[in-house]
């Protein structure tokens, strides 16, 4: 299909992990796809702010899309990460029972998992729990060896970069303002930047998917933000656990409970909490929840102390009903029944990360019912990420520095990230250049000093290599500038000693 300027066959609204997965699936075909994202980078809505767990699928109700796609996604996740050069580790999970009454809950989970097609689930006894996790207290556990961990932000970035590489266009800092029907076969999308024309719209706007759906005339969806707060523990205490440690889910509690997650970077996460809030933009952490997280974690891991916490953060879930109503809501992945060619992805909460690729395949299937696509002959499923210097052996490190001395300058002391990696991150193909974009791509500033050493250095690297004025250096996009400007407003050209004397006379106001 021919296109001009901002005419596309498909426009995806929202560059979260699902939106980017859809983009990548579509890029296997000869279609012109655009992704519109309101933030400064991909994944900054829900996708980057979760535990990064690749669930096995025993937590989901049999017969639901959540169950089906979670199991499917889990089984193909290793390959996906391999293609995209995204970290992945199958460390396994223990759902730990602390009381005898909870063992029934374990058995229920196992049954559910077996029904859903999850492999290798076993109920283990106290001795086995102690053997696998000497620091955890519990009397029995459900052991799921197929549960894995990944980096949710690196995955989202990788999906986006691969899609971009295969022809998808990304428009960041582009917020959709209105959607109108041009004629029976096209949509006109007004944004804060340009106007777009598209035959299909895929609404993967996360928390705001209800708002986008309403713009096209579908009023039936409502999404309610439910906040989850996390603590991140110092890497020094990573030895405390080897697997994901979850409590037995309590009926009606909504969510999987406060759990302990080893991250792919080697920290431990405590969380998340579960709290319905009013604003979809509120990513604050609260002191009451922070205290609660610590005490809940200590129930499983008595050795935890507040001194280990290096940072706290929160993420939001898109719930389809308010807390008063509750209830179970499956993924909504469907073409609108009132608006043709408008596909809604609603309520993609856990296991949304695990299910991202199967969800994307389903979206393509829905479109394929109406359209015949020709394959994209130059589609390449592989993508290489930024080489992590610290992960290489010594010989490779020496070679790298020889080839490029920028590998010899360590900018982030805590995580041992080099200048070269910072430059590669800042030069990413999506064009995102804020500090958080660099942080997600390199782990810089994620260490225990939280940017104390590297922040001024990263600022200088950005300024020098991208010719930026101080105001253009931001934390997470335009409004979050770091610096007012230069301190000095020097009057004019260089002053020699003699000239200085006359300068003061000028300045004697």
């Amino acid at each position: 299909m021919k296109t001009k300027n901002n005419h596309f066959d498909m426009v995806i609204i929202g560059a979260g992990v699902v939106g980017c997965a859809v983009a990548r699936e579509l890029s296997e075909y000869k279609v012109n796809v655009a992704v519109l994202e309101k933030e400064d980078d991909v994944g900054w809505g829900i996708s980057c702010r979760n535990s990064g767990v690749v669930h096995a699928g025993f937590n989901n109700k049999p017969g639901t899309l959540m169950a089906q796609f979670c199991v499917e996604g889990n089984k193909s996740f290793a390959e996906l990460c391999n293609q995209l050069d995204v970290p992945y580790k199958k460390i396994g999970k223990l759902v730990v029972a602390k009381k005898k009454e909870e063992i029934k809950g374990l058995q229920k989970l196992k049954q559910q998992g077996d029904t859903n097609g999850v492999d290798n689930l076993q109920i283990i006894d106290l001795n086995e729990v102690k053997r696998l996790e000497p620091n955890v207290s519990g009397i029995a556990a459900l052991y799921s060896p197929e549960t894995a961990i990944t980096s949710p932000y690196l995955l989202t970035i990788a999906l986006a970069e691969n899609a971009l590489n295969n022809g998808v266009k990304f428009f960041l800092n582009t917020e959709v303002k209105s959607i109108t029907r041009l004629n029976n076969s096209h949509f006109k999308i007004n944004t804060t930047k340009e106007e777009f024309i598209s035959s299909y719209i895929i609404n993967s706007a996360g928390l705001y998917a209800d708002k986008i759906a309403r713009m096209a005339g579908t009023k039936k969806y409502h999404l309610y933000p439910c906040r989850g707060e996390y603590h991140i523990l110092d890497k020094n205490v990573s030895w405390l656990i080897n697997h994901l440690i979850y409590p037995v889910p309590q009926a009606g509690a909504g969510g999987l409970g406060i759990h302990l997650t080893p991250t792919i970077d080697g920290n431990i996460l405590i969380g998340p909490s579960n709290e319905y809030i009013k604003s979809k933009d509120n990513l604050s952490v609260t002191s009451s929840v922070m205290k609660m997280l610590s005490s809940e974690a200590r129930k499983f891991l008595p050795l935890i102390s507040p001194g280990y916490i290096i940072r706290s953060y929160s993420g939001l879930r898109a719930k389809q009903a308010p807390s008063s109503e509750g209830g179970f809501w499956d993924f909504v992945i469907e073409e609108s029944d009132t608006v043709d060619n408008f596909i809604n992805l609603i309520g993609i909460e856990s296991p949304g990360l695990t299910a991202a690729q199967p969800i994307a395949k389903k979206v393509v299937k829905i479109i394929n019912k109406k359209e015949r696509f020709n394959p994209n002959p130059s589609f390449n499923p592989s993508r290489k990420g930024i080489l992590q210097f610290e992960e290489q052996n010594e010989e490779i490190k020496k070679t790298l520095i020889k080839q490029d001395p920028d590998y010899g300058e360590i900018v982030c002391r805590c995580e041992k990230i080099t200048k070269k990696e910072i430059l590669e991150a800042a030069n990413n193909p999506l064009g995102a250049r804020s500090l958080i974009s660099i942080k997600y791509r390199t782990r810089a500033m994620m260490g225990r000093c939280q940017g104390g050493y590297c922040l001024p250095r990263i600022i200088e690297i950005l300024k020098e290599n991208f010719n930026l004025v101080p105001r253009e250096i931001t934390l997470k996009g335009e409004k979050s500038y770091l610096l007012m400007g230069y301190r000095s407003n020097e009057v004019s050209k260089s002053c020699k000693k003699k000239k200085l004397l006359s300068l003061e006379e000028e300045l004697l106001v």
């Binding site: 952490v285 300058e409 360590i410 939280q450």
Partner: protein
């Protein structure tokens, strides 16, 4: 693998003084390894004066003080590496250094740890609220203003009245910003009284004691903070919350020795100082690895850092001669009134210098050293303050024959 006699990790005040002292003791095969692109460490960004009053009997700015040592390092041609990061330290005293030239292995007979310290962060003290830009630790702000020529904000709130926070209150005022207030969660300032005077009173900046920041607002850039008053037990006094509009929050909430390498080398740390446990010669639990300066204990006066570095080099020289023998291992017991003592162990009964900090400000206190029931030494201290390190020398005759050592403040 390159072999050296002494490797000094860190080219700041402690490292430079240690290097010069080594050279004076005819220890020539030294190498200073510095990660920044200049020598002098934190002194280069401390452009205020007041340094050197004890050591040089004059008031110098930080860079001037540093230059006195840098000049000696260059004159005596003491080797140093810049832009070089020590990424690994083993108990066998091997280091791996990375710089633009490549990755190099070194092994030394003695390692002197002089890496200084880092700042406590917002994450570490768990301030709730949003995540806007405009929140800096005081040291980072100091670097951005005094070395990189940036202006970081216009309306500033400072949390923490330690010396760095106070110095930055003055600096920001002189640079044309409005410093709205300094909030301090303790009921007394954690900085030197004269700094409260010349940094806050001079500029009419209010100091709110027993106050802390309990919330942060800002969509993009910081737009305001909420402060609240704390009661005697540290809880928030109801009704005391106040919103303050500002665009910058500076955190000056504590310093922690850089102990990453110390941990890697298996060195035993002191939980209170955050730095290595040492004997009176500055030697850590790993033979041949010494520590001095902020990496050992956070100092408030750089003159003491230099004195400490010079002092531990005596131990270094003895070690290299094979004379640093352990005659005993007396753990210095900490009694009431004191937060910590360095050194934590005595291996001999020779002239030794002890450094302390007290728990609370006070007047007319007596520092008592005891061996069991016998009082070894008493020292009257007219005024004590947690912000001011106390250094006391005990002579070999005072320490002779002791079986135990306990120190307390009454």
């Amino acid at each position: 693998m390159q072999e050296k006699e002494v490797i000094i990790i860190g080219g700041g005040a402690a490292g430079l003084a240690a290097a010069v002292a080594c050279q004076q003791k005819r220890i020539e095969d030294i190498l200073i390894i510095e990660r920044g692109d200049y020598l002098g460490g934190i002194l280069q960004q401390c452009i205020h004066d007041g340094f050197g009053l004890e050591k040089f009997h004059t008031s110098l700015a930080g860079p001037e003080y540093a230059q006195r040592y840098i000049d000696q390092v260059k004159e005596k041609e003491i080797p140093f590496l810049l832009n070089s990061m020590v990424v690994n330290l083993t108990p066998q005293k091997e280091v791996i250094v990375i710089n633009y030239k490549g990755l190099q292995h070194y092994r030394a007979k003695v390692i002197i740890l002089a890496m200084g310290c880092r700042e406590r962060t917002r994450g570490a003290i768990n301030i709730p609220g949003a995540r806007p830009s405009g929140i800096y630790t005081a040291g980072v702000a100091q670097e951005l203003i005094n070395l990189k020529n940036y202006m970081i904000g216009e309306k500033i709130v400072i949390l923490g009245s330690g010396d760095i926070g106070l110095i930055m209150a003055r600096r920001l005022s002189l640079e044309g910003a409005e410093v709205i207030m300094v909030a301090e969660k303790l009921p007394y300032s954690s900085g030197l009284p004269r700094n409260v005077n010349q940094c806050l009173y001079d500029f009419d900046i209010p100091l709110l004691l027993s106050h802390t920041v309990v919330d942060i607002e800002g969509n993009g850039r910081l737009s305001g903070v909420t402060i609240a008053q704390l009661g005697k037990r540290g809880g928030i006094i109801p009704g005391s919350k106040r919103k303050i509009a500002c665009d910058t929050l500076l955190l000056s909430v504590g310093l922690i020795p850089e102990n990453e390498l110390s941990r890697e080398a298996g060195i035993i740390l002191d939980n209170i100082t955050g730095g290595p446990q040492v004997d009176e010669r500055g030697q850590t639990s790993v033979p041949g690895i010494f520590a001095c300066g902020n990496v050992l204990q956070v100092h408030d006066i750089v003159d003491n850092v230099s004195l400490e570095a010079e002092y531990i080099v005596e131990g270094v020289a003895e070690f290299l001669e094979g004379k640093l023998t352990k005659e005993q291992e007396i753990k210095v017991e900490l009694g009431k009134g004191l937060r910590y003592v360095v050194p934590q162990t005595l291996i001999r009964s020779e002239d030794s210098i002890f450094s302390f900090r007290v728990n609370q400000p006070g007047r007319k206190k007596i520092l008592i050293f005891k061996d069991g029931k016998r009082i070894i030494k008493k020292k009257i201290l007219r005024r004590v303050n947690p912000a001011e390190m106390i250094r006391v020398k005990l002579s070999s005759s005072e320490l002779e024959g002791i079986k135990t050592l306990k120190v307390k403040l009454v």
